[in-house]
Symmetry: C2
Subunit: 666 residues, 2 copies
């Protein structure tokens, strides 16, 4: 029965190739030479790769050129000239402007006027600057001596005809195109961009724009692959999505084989993978089928019609890393670039111990944080599943852990492959509780040129990230049950952290205005079975507040707290942000939740205030000197930010906003 099919298809991956062997074997089996050469206009040349060496065809400058406005003279005529005893030289009457061909020859006792950039007349061997001369009738009075060659740029002194200016493989930027323009070239020989045919397969995959039917998701891989191609000097051609149908896939692949390379990203299920490599088997040859890497094991490397044909796994992060490992070097070689983008690899230390499967070349996605202590980057492994697209979008790159290594200990010095050479480590990372009101701050930071990375993990995890020095800034609103105090009780005296006063937010119950409920208080909401809750993630300040309030109710009615929770429909469904909770309620996916008034207002929801809370900012001491952090603290005290805060009813600004409130003494 059908179950067997899966088990079978699994078997095919039992003995997969070692990573390094696989790569070597594949590149040996295919043509990795550049796709070809084309002559393009210099106006299009920026960013392209030079395919032949460029030799100077003319001298630059092509003639002896004056570098100043002044008078072309025979230097000896000016010797010993000074303010007291200027030298008089007869003016030839000729004024040589830039671009003119001088008519009169200069000889002892005669000079011509000359403009910057103009051709030095025959006989002249120096230019007296205009500042050091005066004209008087037909005489020029020179107040300073000029040495032979002064203010003259000799022919070929910049570039000499016959010199090699650039070699094959040079990437052309303004510096290079300028030199080529100076030589009068209008066209440049560059390597053709390899054209990559990209196909997505899988019955569950839809193209963005199509209406989303149950069980379907939008295609992500073709987007990642296309943009990775662009970043690596290749031209992507997306041929669309094909359903799981051998003939249809084959047809599409034949179309793609008209280009220089074919990349299929298989669906997520082994079944779809099957079809893709069967097509490859029929049209060409499989060189490597499955590699001992994690993630990315199902990658298939083949060749058809002499062209590379690669099947990438379906999960976005698997597709991204396998692209980086096998495809990127290939398209770079075909584009005339070096296969290794070693400049993309950045030196960092691992922030937490990583365990890796022995015998597998493991690829661990990481989030890079500038570590002010070591002044190099700390790499934080990202644990989310490879099925998650946000895993990829939060990752700056990945760490390769070779098959023979089982654990990478904390603080190991490692090299990280950045996913893109455009990736810039965020100047400031907010990791902690979510607050809608941070958005204006983020925008103000960006306007000052600071990039931000924001991860909503809740107050508790945020505070941990802050202690590890991972977060630059952590917004927290943690209520201490005993003291009824916010945030301060959660800091330990040995914490190397500083707490800055933020603002006051109003927490409450949010529900749709049309909801009929006689007594809108918490005790009431939790007892109405038909009203479904959307809860917040564990460790978030809001969740903690909610659980504290439930505790109270439970005590009051001396009812076991666990039963109470189990009776609340939807208690286990979690959202990570106030916005997400409000949206879920507004859209009827749930009936009520706990969120700040600001979020409720944004979705025009009814709001029952539960309590005001302090939303403060915790910063590792070591980060306090960081320009981006300083800027944030400025913003916190700025009127522009306060005005933004006050746009929302739910926010109050305390006197001491932006002040250091912990540690109390220094």
């Amino acid at each position: 029965m059908g179950g067997g099919k899966f088990i079978l298809s699994r078997k095919e991956f039992h003995d997969v190739a070692d990573f390094f062997e696989a790569k070597k074997k594949y590149y040996a089996a295919i043509d990795t030479r550049p796709t070809g050469i084309e002559q393009i206009s210099i106006h299009q040349a920026h960013g392209r790769v030079l395919a032949e060496k460029i030799i100077a065809k003319i001298d630059v400058p092509p003639f002896a050129r004056s570098t100043k406005d002044g008078f072309a003279v025979v230097a000896s005529d000016t010797f010993f000239a000074d303010e007291e005893n200027p030298k008089n030289i007869l003016f030839s009457g000729e004024k040589i402007a830039a671009g003119d061909l001088p008519e009169k020859e200069i000889s002892g006792g005669i000079c011509s006027e000359i403009a910057t950039g103009a051709m030095v007349p025959r006989g002249a061997n120096a230019i007296v600057m205009i500042e050091y001369a005066e004209t008087d009738g037909n005489m020029v009075i020179v107040y300073r001596p000029a040495t032979p060659g002064e203010n003259i740029m000799h022919a070929g002194s910049d570039m000499m005809q016959g010199e090699t200016l650039f070699h094959e493989g040079q990437i052309l930027n303004a510096r290079e195109t300028a030199v080529i323009a100076a030589q009068g070239f209008t066209r440049v020989p560059v390597f053709k961009k390899p054209v990559v045919g990209i196909i997505s397969t899988g019955n569950e995959i839809l193209e963005p724009g199509e209406s989303l039917s149950p069980g379907k998701i939008y295609d992500i891989n073709s987007r990642i692959i296309s943009d990775f191609c662009i970043e690596n000097a290749a031209e992507p051609k997306f041929l669309g999505i094909v359903k799981d149908d051998f003939e249809k896939i084959k047809e599409k692949v034949l179309e793609a084989l008209l280009f220089d390379m074919v990349i299929i990203s298989g669906g997520t299920s082994a079944g779809t993978g099957d079809l893709c490599y069967r097509v490859l088997e029929e049209l060409g040859k499989i060189i490597v089928h499955g590699v001992a890497i994690k993630p990315g094991k199902p990658v298939v490397l083949g060749v058809a019609k002499k062209k590379p044909f690669i099947i990438l796994p379906g999960f976005p992060t698997s597709a991204a890393v396998t692209f980086d490992l096998f495809v990127r070097p290939l398209i770079r070689m075909k584009a005339g670039l070096s296969p290794d983008t070693e400049y993309k690899i950045i030196d960092s230390t691992i922030a937490t111990r990583i365990n890796s499967d022995k015998g597998k070349h493991e690829l661990v996605l990481v989030n890079l944080v500038k570590n002010e202590a070591t002044d190099i980057c700390s790499a934080y492994p990202i644990t989310k599943s490879s099925g998650s697209i946000t895993t990829f979008s939060f990752a700056d790159g990945f760490l390769e852990i070779p098959a023979n290594i089982e654990t990478v200990s904390k603080d190991s010095r490692v090299a990280i492959n950045l996913f893109s050479k455009n990736i810039r480590i965020a100047d400031i990372s907010f990791i902690g509780s979510h607050c809608v009101m941070l958005e204006p701050a983020v925008i103000m930071l960006r306007k000052s040129g600071f990039t931000t990375k924001i991860m909503h993990v809740g107050s508790t995890l945020g505070l941990e990230a802050c202690r590890r020095g991972e977060a630059d800034i952590t917004g927290i609103h943690l209520l201490d049950e005993k003291t009824e105090e916010y945030n301060l009780p959660f800091l330990h005296k040995d914490d190397k952290l500083t707490l800055f006063r933020g603002y006051i937010r109003e927490q409450g119950i949010v529900y749709r205005k049309n909801t009929t409920i006689e007594k809108p208080d918490l005790g009431h909401f939790i007892h109405i079975k038909k009203l479904r809750l959307i809860n917040r993630n564990k460790g978030s300040g809001t969740r903690i507040l909610f659980d504290i309030l439930l505790e109270a109710i439970a005590k009051e009615n001396d009812f076991p707290i666990e039963d109470l929770k189990n009776n609340i429909s939807g208690y286990d469904i979690e959202a990570n942000t106030h916005t997400a909770v409000s949206a879920a309620v507004a859209l009827g996916k749930a009936d009520w939740g706990i969120a700040i008034r600001t979020a409720a207002d944004n979705y025009d929801l009814a709001f029952v205030s539960l309590r005001d809370e302090h939303y403060d900012f915790c910063i590792p001491n070591i980060k306090l000197g960081k320009p981006s952090v300083k800027k944030f603290l400025e913003i916190l005290k700025s009127n522009e930010f306060h005005e933004n805060l006050l746009k929302s009813d739910g926010i109050k600004i305390p006197e001491d906003i932006g002040d250091r409130i912990w540690p109390k003494s220094f």
Copy 2:
């Protein structure tokens, strides 16, 4: 008389604005807001700047999704299952593939087969991996327990509808476009690229492709400006070159004013500058006329028809730095980016003391070299004139020395503005004597992913650069007159350098084969007045060899050496490379010169051997560990390189090529 015109035009620059004031004043006077917003296809979005925040419109995944191939079960049915006591669960008969809408509801005792990525059927709360189950008739035998939620990705666990995904100002790379695609968006709101109208003026300026007439040079500035625009998210529109004619310039400017901004680069002479700002005066308003910067003083910042109108100086390097200081921040703001490209600024130390004019904001072009001692960059000021294009093309960026600073001492820690974010510090810099045969090595290095920078300064200056740690590798061929020995005598025992054996080159006289000369030896050549020499630059090994040979001849005929030299026509005309000498002779610009046989052969010239010489490689000890240097030493010993060397008759390969020949003992 005419001379006066220049003096006048100079006067206009007598009191120029302070740099910082000028910038502030100008940006206050013009509209620096983004040019506008456009909706573009996500396929074109890569690299663009997001103009509005993006909010999740759907949950991702949109439904509970299986992350494994296996069986959808009620977790409790599998509790306590193991190899000895597997649990049997009835198979519903349904196989849920990715993209399917499950038909059957799961309840205790029943399960369905499910593929990775497929929708989890109602009732099921865990997926048992295929590896841990077997099918037997209509039963599924489960060998391991599954916990509730295992292998299930809940709806919205990746992104939840309503979440803010990205903020305005975000640059879109694969990471971002993938997330946007996952949301099903097909179009993205991005900031319009500001369109910059670019005009070049000057009677001496030609467009590349035009035939070069005397006194003219090719336009460089429009090329630099255009490519700088591209690098900063603007779209350049080059409107061509205009001669020095008020009406013609005005006409062209009116055309350019249809775009978002106008940049004219004036000719080099003050006269041309005149015309440009007179046009600006007539069409708009001058905000800043001349700034106390060096180079770049004549820059003019104005506005016409509410659009920025900037006149850049004519010299390429002046145009480049003034663009960087005044235009780059402006187009970045208009493109929705932060004005400061602070990530472009790199931390380095100044390698040599710099003196700067007091009262002038001075911009010193520098060449960056990775300093292995400090592990940060050393910045080497480039002294060539700003009229030289190669000055710009060799410069990685520039150092700003504010008006109040007169000297920057050696080893000062400074920030350097890179000319482009694409500039990557060369992995290996060859500074020293020129050799044609280095080209294959350079190409082999690039193929291994190492970029090179080559500066031909001759053996002597190269050796100095090597001592300063500026050069990674210096090729030298220095003959010691007394010992008749090459290179070794020029190293001092306290030098922290290592000399590696290179190859042997044949130096000789090169001349055109059709030259009629009865006795082709040096003594003869130097006495034939009608034969013009092209000499080599002072300090080059070849020049030193030549002068030694002349000394000998002078002694022999006991004739004063200076007179001898003065009698050689062309003795003072210098070229920097063997290629340039050979080219000059081949093209009849000179009649003879001294060069290596390889260069002579390349130009099919007659060659009279003078002597064999050792061309060796000197490397600072501190660079020996550098990967690029190690690679070069490998190449030196590689067959591929040797085969390349042997292609040329003029080269011999010694036994000990690539060996360390100094210091002798360690």
